[in-house]
Subunit: 252 residues, 2 copies
């Protein structure tokens, strides 16, 4: 029986002035994308980075939530005034922003009653109806509301939580990829690459990315597909092209 | 005479499957943002990352171009089939996608007539009316069309070209920033930080970012403003808070 090709698509909404100002380099997009690809067969089709401004967060949340199977937000779920992700989701979908009982208990336990101040309590406030995404490193949970999964911005904490998102996600067809690193320049093979891409248009995405390595310039040709067979066909065509042009392959 | 506070806002549109798939980590957002901030007083207020799909690029270009003073695109101006930024801009604004005479000459000179093949020629095709952004590292120029500045995706090449964008940009008021690195946790100061932010709401953006350093956790408090005076006032309030709470400052 032929397996049906199931495309599940996600977007990432990165919330935080520190990324937009250039102060902090985002590490979460590549981590989440790789994880979704490899672990869940989900592809990330769009990313947006927005400041800590409720009106903007609300607008983007509504747009992305309609358009994609899942939206991952990063950042803005801590204890300070600029952490407004949970309240923005509540606003966007017109539900109450309130204490999540289990989250409240987890945090109260973690900090102890006497040290459980207002800032810390804030981290238990979520849109009504949220389910928790547990946090093994610093207790404060993320949450899923509708198709929106909210995670913290600190990469090490986010990384430790990602496995706990799995149970909420429908899996898509695994996306396979194959990379050929060639010692050539893009414009030497661009015409033929274009023809190969055309031939496999519906099945394979073919990308070409210049690199500099060992003092030489080169091009990585990356093919991606949910079908291993089509990927092999593309690879055969690429190998033919490489032989024809007498291009050296970089073995890593 | 009091200098008028001039806000100039930009967006970045990153075009490329390789960033969305997680294969490549973006380096351009923080570089462009920092440069715009420091060199031009321009703040980046939104970033979007989209795949090499014309329909999507067109949609986002139109939206961002309306909303911001400038849109910087990165990626998609090379010689291969997946480089479709220039043709997407032409499509978005309904102008001809054609050879730019000067760009054609630059590239023809660089490669020499006999090696100036179709892929390389493609890099001279731009929306009609574009002006060039010169490329000191690999010849192929970027371009500005309306308020859209198109740069390549390879960070080292982009970095070498950024100065050549300056002449096309209106400068805004310089955004000053001050960082205090504190050995404390966010929730210890979140309430007071919120009050300080409220007090200077219109003038200063106050952000709080956890860090891990020297085996300890801490928080960086970053204040940003076009007014140095307001920044100093915020800093005085922060120092008061730090003394009150007996928090140690990390000197870097």
């Amino acid at each position: 029986m032929k397996k049906k090709n199931k495309r599940v698509k996600a977007a990432i909404l990165i919330i935080g002035n520190e990324i937009l100002s250039g102060r902090t380099e985002d590490k979460n997009v590549s981590f989440i994308s790789n994880w979704l690809n490899l672990q869940c067969g989900i592809s990330v089709n769009e990313v947006r980075i927005v400041p800590d401004i409720e009106k903007m967060i609300v607008k983007h949340l509504i747009e992305l939530s309609k358009k994609y199977n899942y939206v991952f937000t990063t950042g803005g779920i801590g204890p300070t005034h600029d952490d407004i992700t949970a309240q923005s989701i509540s606003r966007a979908f017109k539900v109450k922003y309130e204490y999540h009982k289990e989250a409240f208990k987890i945090l109260e336990n973690y900090y102890g009653k006497s040290k459980f101040n207002d800032g810390r309590k804030k981290m238990a406030k979520m849109p009504r109806g949220s389910k928790l995404i547990y946090n093994p490193s610093s207790a404060a949970p993320g949450f899923i509301f509708k198709n929106i999964l909210s995670l913290p911005g600190v990469p090490s904490i986010l990384n430790s939580m990602i496995e706990n998102c799995k149970k909420y996600l429908i899996k898509g067809s695994k996306i396979h990829s194959k990379t050929l690193n060639l010692f050539t320049v893009e414009s030497n093979i661009s015409k033929q690459l274009g023809l190969i891409q055309k031939k496999y248009k519906k099945f394979v995405d073919l990308g070409s990315y210049p690199f500099f390595r060992l003092g030489k310039i080169g091009v990585s040709i990356v093919s991606r597909s949910t079908s291993k067979t089509k990927l092999q066909s593309v690879n055969r065509d690429l190998i033919k092209l490489i032989k024809l042009k007498k291009i050296q392959i970089l073995k890593i």
